[in-house]
């Protein structure tokens, strides 16, 4: 029998990491992801795995880099403000092509912003820091999915030798739901023969994992390899879910916690006879551009619901290439103009009705 427990979205990521055989966690406290670092501090040592509280997010991402370079499954978690601090390290990890997981439980920004939820890191998560690299971004919208996408994240990271960002948010992290704890099965993975273990492990041929692809070795090879990798990921790993889109006049596009709000709004609208559908990207990169483009052949109205001033909307605009009209339900539509305000279903319904 599969075990079912009541846990928060933050804890679900911790359970996902355990079920994915992640052995190394490095982190630094920040709201609203603290339940996750505390879960790791409690559970990882008990399981004989490594937990380290770093002195900063510069350090925690660097520790993930070091551990991942040895071939173990390593991760860190943080929230927006400190996700910015990690950017240099993440760019370094991209240059070294190290598989690992970085969890961002989004809070309000910019700056220290607020300690409450937001979805204001879409662009930094999907576009990244300097150097033009790409990374897989997964966005759960239920506690169960947070648990499962964490396992998927480690699989995809190892499959492509790439870092994966799990983009959660304050509401997702604090939300409690019952979760079926089940280890997901994945196909076999390539061996990590590039990992640093001391040269004795490689017949005394030394291994050198570096972050200067344009100085050491061939920049051309690095770019070609990356380009092929990104293309392969775009071809094979796009994930999304659709609800009632077949006859929809208006399609809501939303991810994470606002997708839950949007789903409710969709049903409220359907009750009133308005034909609304929901498109929910699960991979924010690669973004399901082609799927949306195809839908735009039939549906001419897209309403993007995201708790920011409009970020994912840019990807939707690129996807529909002028075939449909696009509107935004954003942070200005929160029920309260405060840090703790949120977009409610009735506001989305209101905007659906006004979108003509």
């Amino acid at each position: 029998m599969v075990e079912k427990i009541l846990i928060s979205g933050n804890e679900a990521i911790g359970y996902g990491a355990i079920y994915a055989d992640c052995t190394h966690y490095f982190g630094y406290p920040i709201t609203p992801q603290n339940e996750l670092i505390e879960f790791m501090a409690r559970e990882f040592p008990r399981l004989g795995r490594t937990f380290v509280q770093a002195e900063s997010e510069f350090a925690s991402i660097s520790m993930v880099c070091g551990a991942a370079a040895t071939g173990v499954r390593a991760m860190t978690s943080t929230a927006s403000t400190a996700f910015s601090l990690m950017q240099e390290g993440i760019s370094g990890i991209a240059s070294m092509e190290l598989p690992c997981l970085i969890v961002n439980v989004q809070r309000g920004g910019p700056g220290a912003g607020s300690t409450q939820h937001s979805q204001m890191d879409y662009l930094i998560a999907t576009r990244g820091a300097h150097g033009g690299y790409k990374n897989i971004v997964l966005a759960p919208f239920s506690v169960q999915e947070a648990f499962e996408l964490t396992q998927l994240a480690f699989y995809l990271a190892d499959k492509y030798r790439i870092h994966v960002i799990l983009l959660s948010d304050g509401i997702m992290g604090q939300m409690y739901e019952s979760v079926e704890l089940k280890k997901l099965e994945f196909p076999p993975l390539p061996e990590k023969d590039w990992a640093v273990k001391g040269s004795a492990a490689h017949n005394y041929v030394r291994t050198f994992v570096h972050n200067s692809p344009g100085i050491i070795g061939s920049y051309y090879d690095y770019m070609k390899r990356s380009d092929e990798k990104y293309t392969k990921i775009k071809e094979n790993e796009v994930r999304y879910e659709t609800y009632e889109i077949e006859d929809a006049e208006i399609i809501l596009v939303s991810y994470g916690s606002t997708a839950r709000v949007s789903l409710r709004a969709m049903y409220l609208a359907r009750d009133e006879g308005i034909r609304v559908g929901l498109f929910r990207p699960i991979t924010l990169w690669p973004f399901p551009r082609e799927a949306i483009n195809k839908i735009a052949d039939n549906t001419k109205k897209f309403l993007v619901v995201e708790d920011c001033m409009g970020q994912m909307i840019e990807d939707v605009e690129l996807a529909v290439v002028g075939k449909a009209r696009i509107g935004l339900v954003g942070s200005m539509d929160r029920n309260l103009p405060t840090g703790s305000g949120m977009i409610l279903s009735r506001k989305v319904l209101e905007k659906i009705k006004a979108f003509n």
């Binding site: 925690s60 660097s62 070091g66 570096h210």
Partner: protein, 264 residues
Amino acid sequence: MEEKDSPRRLICGRPKSLMQAKSPLCSGCQHGIVGRIISEVIDELGIMGNVVGIGGVGCHAMSMFVMNVDFVQALHGRAPAVGTGVKRGLNEEAVVFTIQGDGDLAAIGIGDLINATVRGEKLTTVFFNNAGYGTTGGQLAPTTLIGQVTTTTPDGRRPEAGGFPIHVAELMAGLPGVVYSARCAVNTLAQFKRTKKAIKTAFQKQIDGIGYGFVEVLSACPPLLKMSPTKAREWFEKHMLAEYPLGEFKNVNEREIKYQIEND
């Protein structure tokens, strides 16, 4: 290289953990000597196959290209944190050392270094102090001497504007996680031998599971000083040795815990 059971014994030559490669360093630079010392120590300790080096950003990192051991490159200043990840990733079974320069270690990375010792990491750090930034063309470093001219202190470093030279070996000696801290030089054969002994001790402390070992090695940078190698060495002996005293500042065999709460 001679066979183990050969009656002929190699008394000098290139260490096994040093590749046969052209030095990428400038003439008169002493960083190459330090790289060689680390290689000799690795050979003598017999850890070549079980050691991982972490290189940072700067001239010191050139050793990364010529040392025949596994290496992970860290971003500027992050070597002790990356080293922490590597050490933990390999279940604390590998010997992990960082090589860092004065910009890397004493400026952008001083927090990483101190906190690695605060966490009780068992790593070895060799700090290349040449009183300035070499790779970027000779700017002020935290270790630059008062009055020293650099490209960003064109009138010489003044305390009012540029602050004071940092003494890292003494600072490290004051930290409970550090069990060995020394400052050395390589300007004479006698100093070369002392440096080698210090670096070997710093590695041994890690191998024995005692704690963090730290060795600061002073050196002169002729291009930074805009001097010939000979003149740079004279400058080094006159000024750098006056600012930075050589010696062992800490050498203990146990980490000290002053007070401990007994939970009941």
